[in-house]
């Protein structure tokens, strides 16, 4: 790839990852359906591992193109940012559908669940115990991630590392508490529409916390490696946006599912 082109765009090279990612996604979904129909879970796990491997390598390539080959010009970076914005909007719509399902079932509860919400004999979590702590943790992580962001902008390297590290640790703590709370649960995903909407919504949020933490972790490593400047740090900025999105979704989950629905 020549560095002297007459346009600002990044013409990507041949890559095996789109094809392998597609095949892995197919295996994952097919494996999931298979698993749901009481067959072995192996195909699903194979698909997941395959997806993880492809993701790691695809993004490794992207990092190399950005940090070492200098292919992410201002124009390309702008496109990347728009892509991230649209991705986050689509994720918001994804969660919107879970909230829709939740409010559909909770605002007019059917007689099958005792015409009440939470349904008869469902003991939900007390919102002022672990869920409130989790809310505080995520809000605090929002503060630390902003600290890290400003430190990057001000060229304060050690502070940015500290801020990002604190965010990652808070994310990990949140995940640990959620896992603990799940293990203590008095109801399962099979317990009426309450269990279904609760675990699907909070479960997908938990998955997004894990993804966001991993995203931040990778960017912490890149920060330590010196990939970022105060002027050009798209990767960490995308991770920060994503983290804020996860944070906002939690606030809605907390207020409507844990608190209002208690």
């Amino acid at each position: 790839m020549s560095l002297h082109s007459n346009h600002p765009y990044h013409l990507v090279e041949k890559s095996p990852w789109p094809l392998i990612a597609s095949v892995s996604a197919l295996m994952m979904v097919a494996g999931l359906v298979k698993w749901f129909h009481d067959f072995k879970v192996s195909l699903f796990l194979f698909g997941v591992v395959s997806i993880l491997l492809v993701s790691a390598q695809w993004w490794r390539d992207t990092v190399r193109e950005a940090a070492f080959q200098g292919l992410h010009t201002l124009k390309v970076a702008q496109g990347m940012r728009w892509g991230m914005v649209l991705f986050i909007v689509s994720e918001l719509l994804f969660f919107f559908s879970f909230f829709w399902a939740y409010f559909h079932s909770s605002l007019s509860p059917t007689s099958e669940i005792g015409a009440q919400w939470p349904p008869a004999s469902i003991n939900g979590f007390n919102p002022f115990q672990i869920p409130l702590l989790n809310t505080a943790i995520l809000l605090a992580s929002g503060v630390t991630v902003t600290w890290a962001h400003h430190a990057i902008l001000e060229n304060e390297h050690s502070q940015s590392v500290q801020g990002l590290l604190a965010t990652v640790l808070l994310g990990g703590y949140f995940t640990f508490l959620q896992a603990f709370e799940y293990s203590e649960s008095a109801f399962s995903i099979g317990d009426s529409v309450y269990g279904a909407t609760f675990f699907v919504a909070t479960g997908f949020h938990g998955l997004h916390v894990i993804i966001g933490s991993t995203f931040l972790c990778v960017n912490l490593w890149r920060l330590v490696q010196g990939h970022f400047s105060s002027a050009h740090h798209n990767g960490v900025e995308a991770a920060i946006w994503y983290w804020h999105f996860v944070d906002v979704v939690w606030l809605f989950l907390y207020v409507s599912i844990y608190w209002w629905g208690y």
Binding site: T110, S111, E112, G114
Partner: protein
Amino acid sequence: MSSAESQLPWTAPFDARYPNMNQTKHCYKSYIDFHRCQKLRGEDYEPCQYFKKTYTSLCPNEWVSKWDTQRAEGTYPCKI
């Protein structure tokens, strides 16, 4: 006309608590009211029959038999 209508048996009247098209709760609550009334006042207490006639008027038979089974099995989703 009213003399002809008087030959009709009793049916559940309009209830101001359920003014809307959706009458699900009208049926559901009458069913519960009847069984609570019976539990409270005994099976021979005549006024409880009002609730029974109401839910018989309103609830689909399939629902009633399902709820009766659930009550017998102890899985009915409401405390009587």
